[in-house]
């Protein structure tokens, strides 16, 4: 059933909101009173409720079934978290209220900070970053500030080829030169190559651990020592923290900064692309450069430090990264999740996440082709060798998952593996659910090998839309509704 755009349901003068009459007042708009219409459509509430209900029905979601997107940690999002974030006294707090009126809010932030520091074994945490990539920026700015404080700007950042795109993008965005480090045949950072690239101009390295191949960097301590040896800092991409939470403390490995995606490890919902929250834990070396604002314990309770001598000052924060104080709504959800699991439960989280991934790997390795030998951490990585000669691509294979009721796995990432298929089940999948998923993947692999490439090339068949033309979209971008363009296309 087709659902039009809201603009195509416009009836002039209609509104889905009632408002009281505008009282008498002196108009104070100067010359800036808007002239002419905006062009927004008018719908009544029933039509709006239906529109979004029907749009939602075109989506796949964790609430429906396995969402095996490697690197994304699509775990169950408890509804308790949603309820907590909507409490009066949290959802209705203004960020600029007097601190005397928000002591509970500051306590919440401080409590969450305590959990994050304790779980990572790090002495400090910057709470304001809005997402993982923003956290990377925060951590890298702290590194840069630390170097600057020593009067030594430095230029290069070592980034493994298997890194998330955000790593090089972040480093480059603040002027660093990104120096790629190859992976070895075990899917890990090539230690020798890494060491060979070290030098006094290296500001630091950005390494994901467990890495994007779903493997623990077993040379991690050597890597940390090596980068520290040249006066550099170790930034750890914490996207895969779910594999080790409660079992390994990044601080014990020599990490200087690591962002934590609350929307991955700590279950705040992905929401179709956000919002996230990316607090950054910091080592003692970087802690002084943490951004504003931050919570302290004062004589009259909690305090919020919002100013210092600034980025040009002799010492102190590298400045401000975001409006206000951070993603409070996500903090509340994450704390609700952490309290629900506790220290014991979080340890079980990582254990079950790794168990589930290895179970997938063990069950699928005969039918598919594992990218690396041995066990994995929280995600199972396959290459496309098993599709060789079938005429079926990784993309085709993944799209065929959709008709079976599953979201595709991550494809073609990490880049270091050919035709990669990266599956991260997370700990919230049951054995029964995994067995069903495994059955489907094996069945498709068999079908591909039996030479049914035509079927795969056409998949998916049962979705609202099939194989959309991405090239056309990019060549002739239509990024907003206009009466003529959309009508034409709809015909």
């Amino acid at each position: 059933i087709e659902e039009p755009l809201i603009f195509e349901m416009d009836v002039k003068g209609r509104s889905g909101v009632d408002l009281p009459d505008v009282p008498q007042h002196k108009e104070r708009l100067g010359s800036l009173k808007r002239k002419g219409a905006i062009g927004l459509p008018g719908l009544a509430e029933p039509q709006v409720v239906r529109h979004y209900t029907k749009l939602s029905q075109k989506n796949y979601a964790i609430d429906m079934s396995v969402y095996p997107l490697g690197s994304c940690t699509m775990k169950h999002n408890p509804r308790l978290n949603e309820k907590m974030a909507r409490l009066q006294g949290i959802a209705d707090l203004h960020p600029m209220q007097p601190v005397s009126t928000v002591q509970g809010a500051l306590e919440l932030i401080d409590t969450l900070a305590h959990w994050l520091k304790t779980l990572t074994g790090m002495p400090a945490v910057a709470m304001s970053p809005a997402a993982g990539a923003h956290g990377e920026l925060c951590g890298m700015l702290a590194i840069r500030a630390a170097h600057l404080a020593k009067g030594d700007a430095r230029k290069r950042i070592l980034v493994p080829e298997s890194a998330h795109g955000t790593n090089p993008a972040t480093a480059a965005s603040i002027g660093y030169e990104v120096d790629p480090v190859p992976a070895d045949e075990r899917g890990r950072v090539d230690l020798a190559a890494f060491k060979a690239k070290l030098g006094p101009d290296v500001a630091g390295t950005m390494i994901t651990n467990p890495n994007t191949c779903g493997l623990f960097e077993n040379d991690i301590v050597d890597i940390a020592d090596a980068i520290h040896g040249v006066g550099g800092y170790f930034y750890c991409d914490g996207a895969n923290f779910n594999a080790i939470v409660g079992r390994v403390r990044p601080g014990d490995l020599g990490v200087d900064a690591m962002h934590i995606n609350l929307h991955k490890t700590f279950s705040t919902p992905h929401g179709g692309g956000g919002p996230g929250s990316g607090p950054v834990v910091l080592s003692a070396a970087l802690a002084p450069y943490a951004p504003l604002p931050y919570v302290t314990h004062g004589a009259n309770g909690f305090d919020l430090v919002e100013h210092d001598d600034g980025p040009d000052g002799p010492k102190g924060s590298f400045g401000r990264l975001k409006g206000f104080h951070g993603q409070m709504g996500m903090f509340t959800r994450a704390l609700s999740y952490m309290l629900s699991h506790g220290a014991d439960g979080l340890r079980q989280v990582s254990g079950d996440a790794v168990l589930n991934a290895n179970y997938l790997l063990a069950c699928l390795r005969d039918e598919l082709t594992a990218a690396f030998p041995g066990t994995c951490m929280h995600e199972a990585l396959f290459n496309d060798d098993f599709l060789e000669g079938t005429g079926v691509t990784t993309l085709d294979f993944a799209k065929a998952m959709i008709d079976e009721g599953y979201h595709p796995m991550t494809m073609y990432f990490p880049l270091v593996v050919h035709g990669a298929l990266l599956m991260e089940p997370t700990e919230t999948e049951s054995k029964i659910g995994l067995d069903r998923y495994i059955g489907v993947v094996k069945g498709l692999a068999k079908r591909a090998k039996m030479g049914d490439a035509e079927y795969f090339r056409g998949a998916p068949y049962h979705t609202p839309r099939r194989r959309l033309d991405e090239t056309l979209a990019a060549r002739q971008p239509i990024l907003r509704w206009k009466p003529e363009e959309t009508k034409q296309a709809a015909e």
Binding site: S15, S56, N59, D63, D92, P95, G272, P464
Partner: protein, 448 residues
């Protein structure tokens, strides 16, 4: 534990299939001495749902919520009435628990609302194109400056003294660390600044705000012409998007990039986040824009549909050459925004804006009449600046003791002597006449 479906029996079967004796054995790559044998000390163990509610509920009760007290706080975050349908619908699992719509076949819902969102943002700002959201107004502003730097290949941003101090500080931080210069105009509490003199051949952009941080409304048409003549871009920030229901949009005044805070529509105050940054620009700069874009296309059966597009600008494809490092944005906040705006529609947004203006105008009349209080604004939308006869921070504290949230002291955001007595006061559709009377008499008492 309620969220973990595996039982010990399941685990044993699975370990047997894997061929290892225990979960610990799967951590063989971790250096032995770094692997913890026990749950981490210093943290509580798992709690039942009702205990979690007690703990977090207890924290919530220690705060004074804006719904419990007359509240006149603004300064970039505004309390508006959110229709119940919005919060209901954004919580549908198919929205809430879905990922970024990289697989368009199973994400047409998300993609279509992003396309609608982009159109609404472009319409409201009177710009050509808008992206699918940024984190917030402040980060959108610094992305806009970075974009202007790319477009102009220059590295100097001129920041208005009417720009929200947080936005300013975020840009300054970025400039400081990423190598562009920032010229910060003096605090413009009276709305009188003229930035034309700041233009020069090295200036990439001028960043202004409308209404300004102090509430003033300005016509930037002339400034835009001067900026363009100097080869730079005009960036206009909007912290109160509702204003555009009543006020001339930046696009009609010559803005090249418009950034805004979208919180006011659909999103609760939430102590400052998550919010949603809006980002709109002229079409000619499209390929320098940061962030995600939903675009229209057709599917293999020729049917209209939507995909994420122009992703060669983005980090996951372009890596170190990306226009921004942004990945996760504010999808669900954008959904709330677009739902609220869809409910309002043309007529509703105009009336909401008129109502806000009327409330604030009436409040300004009342407060400006208090002894020693001076209204600094000739023009404003729903927020204005008062010069008090004494420092604003203790005044606000004294009001809070009376359970009145009486405004935001400028000093809180910009701790400089010239800001000390300045108070920002905002009013929205949610402020009743009783609220206003409470503030009026409370302020009178506190100032006496």
């Amino acid at each position: 534990m309620r969220f973990l479906p595996q039982t010990d029996a399941d685990r044993q079967v699975m370990l047997a299939k894997i061929g290892v004796p225990s979960i610990d054995a799967l951590y063989g790559d971790v250096p032995k001495e770094k692997l913890l044998a026990q749950p981490i000390a210093g943290l509580t163990n798992h709690l039942p749902e009702m205990e979690v509610e007690r703990v977090i509920g207890g924290m919530a009760r220690k705060n004074l919520g804006t719904s419990e007290a007359p509240s006149f706080l603004g300064a970039g975050a505004y309390r508006h009435h959110i229709p119940a349908a919005v919060d209901h619908l954004i919580q549908r699992g198919e929205f809430l628990t879905s990922y970024t719509p990289y697989q368009p076949e199973v994400a047409q819902g998300t993609l279509q609302y992003l396309f609608e969102f982009q159109t609404q943002v472009a319409l409201v700002t009177a710009m050509d194109v808008a992206n699918a959201s940024m984190y917030d107004g402040a980060t959108a502003t610094t992305e806009a400056v970075a974009m202007a730097n790319r477009v102009t290949r220059r590295k100097k941003a001129v920041l208005s003294g009417g720009l929200h101090p947080h936005y300013r500080d975020v840009v300054v931080t970025h400039g400081h660390h990423t190598g562009f210069e920032t010229v910060v105009a003096p605090l413009d509490a009276k709305g009188k600044e003229d930035l034309v003199a700041q233009l020069g051949p090295d200036v990439s952009c001028v960043v202004v705000q409308n209404p300004s941080f102090f509430g003033h409304l300005s016509d930037f048409t002339r400034l835009a012409e001067a900026v363009h003549a100097a080869g730079a871009l005009l960036i206009v920030a909007v912290t109160e998007i509702v204003s555009l229901g009543l006020v001339t949009p930046p696009g009609e005044m010559g803005a090249d990039i418009v950034v805004a805070e979208g919180q006011s529509l659909g999103n609760p105050l939430g102590f400052g986040g998550p919010y949603v940054g809006l980002f709109a620009a002229r079409e000619k700069y499209l390929r320098q824009m940061p962030g995600r874009l939903a675009g229209q296309t057709v599917d293999v059966d020729g049917r209209r549909g939507w995909v994420l597009t122009l992703s060669t600008r983005e980090q996951h494809i372009r890596r170190e050459k990306a226009t921004s490092n942004i990945c996760t944005n504010s999808g669900l906040c954008a959904l709330a925004f677009t739902m609220h705006l869809t409910l309002l529609g043309e007529a509703g947004l105009a009336k909401l804006a008129a109502l806000n203006h009327a409330k604030a105008s009436r409040l300004a009349d009342r407060l400006a009449a208090l002894p020693g209080v001076k209204l600094l604004n000739d023009t404003f939308f729903n927020e204005f600046t008062l010069a008090l006869p004494k420092p604003a921070v203790p005044v606000v504290e004294a009001l809070a003791k009376k359970r009145i949230l009486g405004g935001v002291p400028v000093f809180r955001l910009h701790p400089a002597p010239e800001a000390e007595n300045l108070l920002l006061v905002a009013a929205t559709e949610l402020n009743s006449d009783d609220d206003m009377a409470a503030l009026e008499s409370g302020l009178k008492e506190v100032l006496a």
